[in-house]
Amino acid sequence: MSPEKQTPQLDVPYLAQLARLSLTPEQVARFSGQLQQIVAYVEKLEEVNVEGIEPTAHATPITNVFRADEPRPCGDPGPFLKNAPQQANNLFIVPKIVE
């Protein structure tokens, strides 16, 4: 990577907010430097000529896997609900959203 190359400045507080991650100011400072370095590294992909190349999302040669549209028992919700930090009446409990 040439030193004059302009890598976009990462706005870590904004990205952390998009990703719902509360960070301390120390974390923001540390991650900013480290991530800037990583982004500068991955920018080497700019060297590759990708004109006319289709993107690959998946390495398997299959599309549209269907199964019979038939009702099936979904099992006991108990063990799933038990993993929630807070639950009642077969529902997950979250902090109040609407006053």
Binding site: L10, V12, R20, V39, V50, A84
Partner: protein
């Protein structure tokens, strides 16, 4: 000699003839874990009584003359990222504190159907992100060959447990090298199957287009035995493919005459440890002397694989890990004033630094204005990397490379430098990007200190029989897999 020192393919006929009992094997596994795991820390937890009870059950069924599966009574250690019903599955993370798996992953159901006994939760880098095990929230696992060194990652616990002789077989997962790299630096065999060969149902997702579950073992035959049990189509994983599952052990003929093995020139350049290069080149010579034809090949986009990987894997991870929000599983930050506050503080406190970095990076490459420049471009280069392999496999049946560019490094040596850490995966990520299979097999040791080196054999999609045949023929011609580490005062 404890039974843990013998390969499973040797013990199975003895178990069948009742010369030994499953309880004897389980007892030796428990004794070995108790003797050495305090120093290795491969297991996050395991249950002695549960293991012994399961083994006794197999013995009783055998005594009654019941039909038993191909791995009846064989303990298999499980990486902490695979759901085992009724047990914790924390993925090496604080955020899954208190989570109890409500169901068995398909690979666990297949193990049980084969009579195998799933054992414990093996330590790992948090959410399978890392190459050193230092990202586990529950302490580092140590390399049995040198307790001051890393066991590789992210399946470091799975590799170290086998290398330390605690259990002969374990399962790990490989998204960018997380089976092969720890196998190499711990001196054991590790197989990353073709994408779609093994069901991912019940595997906690890191990067869904790259993840595969695979086996660890001391030798290729044992790895093939375990692989045959876990492979196959699963209606619960729409990306698993309905190819028939062959008897992989039948592919282990010891004969590589006439096989064309490709040496990609791009893998033998800068940054490789000299002893690693020497050992791998010697392994190539050995295979040539066994009758394989060595052909020079080129994989021109190799230099871009790591960049493609760190864009695609982090993008997929940022989406997959969105589910850990304090609502349905495990940890939730206390006294949140509203849901947004709860999400942010739960995730901020629950995820460790590497996972946090990767979520931020993945969010960045997918964010408006940057998507085309990073994510879409990486997907296009992914096409070129796949094409490289398709073309290379027209000239050869399998490809030989080093697994890791360096032997096990010291704990802490790379911990503060994520980019240098990522370079540990430089020879392994391409297989995940292209969806092909790869196996790492021991091919020597460094001189001082004595640390294992791994040879990687890459194969075509669903070419596992070929790469296992090559790895097995090499193994049978050498004695590396018979070497054992000396663990402290044990």
């Amino acid at each position: 000699m404890p039974l843990t020192d013998r390969p499973i393919h040797e013990l199975l006929p003895r178990l069948a003839k009742k010369e030994i009992a499953a309880a004897d094997l389980a007892h030796d596994v428990a004794a070995r874990i108790e003797a050495v795991d305090g120093r290795i820390h491969a297991f996050l937890e395991w249950d002695r009584d549960e293991l012994l009870a399961a083994a006794r059950d197999v013995d009783e069924r055998r005594a009654r003359g019941e039909a038993l599966g191909p791995l009846a009574g064989v303990p298999v250690g499980i990486k902490d990222v695979i759901n085992v019903k009724g047990h914790t599955c924390r993925c090496g993370s604080k955020i899954l504190q208190g989570y109890v798996a409500p169901y068995d992953a398909t690979v666990i159901a297949k193990l049980r159907a084969a009579g195998a006994i799933p054992v414990g939760r093996l330590n790992m880098d948090e959410f399978a992100m890392g190459s050193s095990q230092e990202n586990s929230a529950f302490g580092v696992t140590r390399n049995p060959w040198d307790l001051d060194r890393i066991p590789g990652g992210s399946s470091g616990g799975s590799a170290a447990a086998v290398a330390a002789g605690e259990v002969q077989l374990t399962l790990g997962s490989d998204t960018g090298g997380s089976i092969r790299q720890p196998a190499a630096v711990c001196g054991v065999v590790g197989l990353k199957p073709t994408y779609g060969r093994v069901s991912r149902y019940g595997l906690v997702a890191f990067a869904s287009s790259l993840d595969q579950i695979g086996p660890f073992a001391r030798d290729v035959t044992d790895a093939a035995l375990l692989f045959a049990v876990i492979a196959g189509h699963d209606p619960n994983d729409s990306t698993s493919l309905p190819e028939p599952v062959p008897d992989y052990t039948r592919a282990l003929t010891g004969d590589v005459r006439g096989l064309r093995l490709g040496l990609p020139k791009e893998y033998f350049t800068e940054g490789m440890d000299r002893e690693v290069e020497t050992a791998v080149r010697a392994a190539v010579k050995t295979l040539a002397s066994l009758g394989a034809e060595i052909v020079e090949i080129s994989l021109p986009h190799t230099a871009y694989a790591l960049a493609v990987y760190y864009i695609i894997a982090t993008a997929e991870a940022s989406a997959n890990l969105a589910r850990f929000d304090g609502v349905r599983y495990g940890f939730r930050a206390k006294d949140a004033k509203d849901p947004m506050d709860m999400y942010g503080r739960t995730r901020g406190a629950g995820f460790g630094p590497e996972v946090t970095r990767r979520i931020i990076l993945g969010t960045y490459v997918l964010s408006s204005g940057y998507y085309d420049a990073y994510y879409l471009r990486a997907q296009k280069v992914r096409t070129l990397i796949r094409r490289d392999f398709t073309e290379a496999f027209q000239r050869c049946d399998a490809i030989l490379t080093p697994t890791s560019p360096v032997p096990a490094f010291r704990i802490g040596e790379r911990a503060d430098d994520p980019l240098t850490m990522y370079l540990s995966d430089i020879f392994t990520v391409s297989a995940n990007i292209a969806g092909i299979c790869g196996v790492s097999v021991p091919c020597g040791f460094t001189a001082q200190p004595k640390l294992p080196i791994g040879l990687q054999v890459l194969g075509k999609p669903f070419g596992e029989e070929t790469i296992l045949r090559v790895a097995h023929a090499y193994e049978q011609a050498t004695a590396w897999h018979r070497e054992r580490p000396v663990i402290g005062d044990s």
